[in-house]
Subunit: 344 residues, 2 copies
């Protein structure tokens, strides 16, 4: 068993020199500080022999930099978030940063616990998908001069850097696509959370149907029940009763999963006859029968913008004059599930 990690003090004692001398040599300042060649060599040989590694915790304390970023998502096991996490990680890795991922489950308490913990550990910056009740916590980070970039949603009354997509336009466009293809009785399945991006998606749907004089049908599943037995019962009840429906538009990928499964369970044929569009793409939608039409968020561009802003803030020690707010477009990918109705 190898001995435990040696500190600079241990090395100094061992070699009979001062800790400052060891530190100068290790930081490449031996000659500048007029330390003798002999001592420099002794320190170098010994630290190489014991495979000395600097204590980065101590270094962080001196520099105030940890080279760690936090990326707080709603749920790291959601494909949309994990995919963006991975792209962010790759960009950060190439710039010498590590990324700490965590899931807040859209709960304010958990968000707050995590923010406090990481703040105490002095990470260098935060990329956050905020839960709705943590506006004041975000404000506190910003007031304390910590680089913060929000993502997916933001607080309209808080001046923050953020990257979002134009949910309203994307949703209106997806609904219009179904209308253009001959669907007239389009249900919108969403959650009841009052998050900006979900409200924008709903607004897009409502405006598109009302513009055409169609009747909106909205089912809101409680956020905590989107994957529960109760949520599935709500979906089952809804689809069992709604005979006139000719299309369904899901506002988020986790609802699509349960929704399609239940439609299939009630009537295996229905999945071929209904018009279907979902928000958020998934690689498996391309192999489904029918292939599923989806609103694809530009994951690569989102991750790149988030890191571009974050690296900009870090470079300028968070002293930037303007607030950087980026809104990207999402692209509808029409597939077999929303073909023009006559052709179905």
């Amino acid at each position: 068993m190898r001995n435990k990690r040696q500190s600079i003090k241990d090395i100094a004692t061992k070699l009979g020199v001062s800790p400052t001398t060891v530190s100068f040599v290790l930081n490449g300042k031996g000659e500048e500080k007029k330390i003798s060649k002999e001592v420099i060599n002794r320190v170098r040989e010994y630290t190489t022999a014991i495979n000395y590694k600097p204590n980065m915790v101590a270094r962080s304390l001196r520099t105030g930099r940890t080279k760690i970023l936090v990326f707080m998502v709603e749920d790291i096991s959601n494909y949309f978030f994990s995919r963006i996490a991975r792209i962010i990680e790759d960009i950060a890795y190439s710039k010498g940063y590590r990324v700490l991922f965590c899931s807040n489950e859209n709960q304010d308490k958990r968000s707050r616990d995590l923010l406090n913990l990481f703040y105490e550990r002095q990470v260098d910056g935060f990329i956050i998908i905020p839960s709705s009740g943590i506006r004041s916590d975000i404000k506190e980070l910003i007031d304390n001069d910590i680089p913060v970039v929000l993502f997916d949603r933001y607080f309209p009354d808080l001046d923050t850097h953020y990257v979002v997509i134009d949910n309203y336009a994307a949703s209106k466009n997806a609904t219009q696509h179904l209308i253009d293809n001959g669907y007239r009785n389009i249900a919108f399945i969403t959650t009841d959370v009052q998050q900006l991006q979900m409200l924008d998606r709903k607004r897009g749907y409502l405006d598109a149907v009302s513009k055409e004089g169609l009747q909106p049908t909205v089912l809101e599943i409680p956020f905590d029940d989107t994957d529960s037995k109760k949520g599935r019962e709500l979906l089952r009840g809804f689809f069992s009763k709604k005979d006139g429906l000719d299309a369904v538009y899901f506002s988020t990928n986790y609802l699509t999963r349960s929704g399609l499964e239940i439609i299939k369970e009630i009537d295996a044929q229905a999945i071929a006859d209904l018009g279907i569009v979902t928000f958020d793409d998934n690689e498996l939608f391309r192999i489904n029968t029918p292939t599923i039409s989806a609103v694809a968020q530009p994951m690569e561009a989102i991750a790149q913008e988030l890191m571009r802003i974050m690296l900009h803030l870090l470079k300028h020690k968070n002293k930037v004059s303007e607030t950087i707010q980026v809104t990207l477009s999402a692209e509808l990918i029409p597939r077999g599930s929303s073909l023009a109705k006559e052709k179905v």
Copy 2:
């Protein structure tokens, strides 16, 4: 704008007492150290008023504990890994630990960079899916008395704690299931990586087919090309030529995705006629047409075992006499894609 974080020294200067006094009060040792009630109250009131938060980096340096664990996976955007990451995170959160996720892309250099970085930062423990060339790095962590638990694969000649599944038995069973259902010409699509778990899956397949006197057909896609154009060409070439095939068994979920897409592209009907089984389940396999049979790894149990071992090591400061090695079973979930051949 709020002032920057105050240190214990700042607080001491502000209140006209010594930093040691402030530190004793904040650590609840004011009375024990005979500090006057008046000073204790003054320190408490002031630190509450400024919302003082201890510098955890400094505390980590004193205690040698960071309450951070590292979970190194191959790719955090792979559903299998991100799902386990999420369960580990929830268990860790409930025990006061944070989890740092990172992806090594199955590259030794990246694994090594990450291990060194986190080792330098003195995280409390590592849960690692090792790339194949980092045996000596893992050994170094263990020799340095750092809690390490491997997952998914291990080094047969290195005595480590680990949690794996019985890949050989699960794979043999999945192949046998296809044989029992009347399939005779079963292809095994896998990658060329020499990872233990992949070799075990191949061995399970080969033993099952040879036991029945059937001919094995193995396609190995280079690991770096599983999602590339070249990999897709290999798959396309393979499926275009293999007319006699009546079943396909995919060794891992990312190959299933490309494989099914290409089968469908070549002949939309083939996907209904072929027997299909894949290693690793996905929620969307339940809604596919046909639903896809899958070998489901017990994600909840894997995550729980990993954390049980890690918390045990942390509790005993890594001084445990036995090496804990857990092998779990994976369950075949037969679905529509591998029904008995007569019924197809």
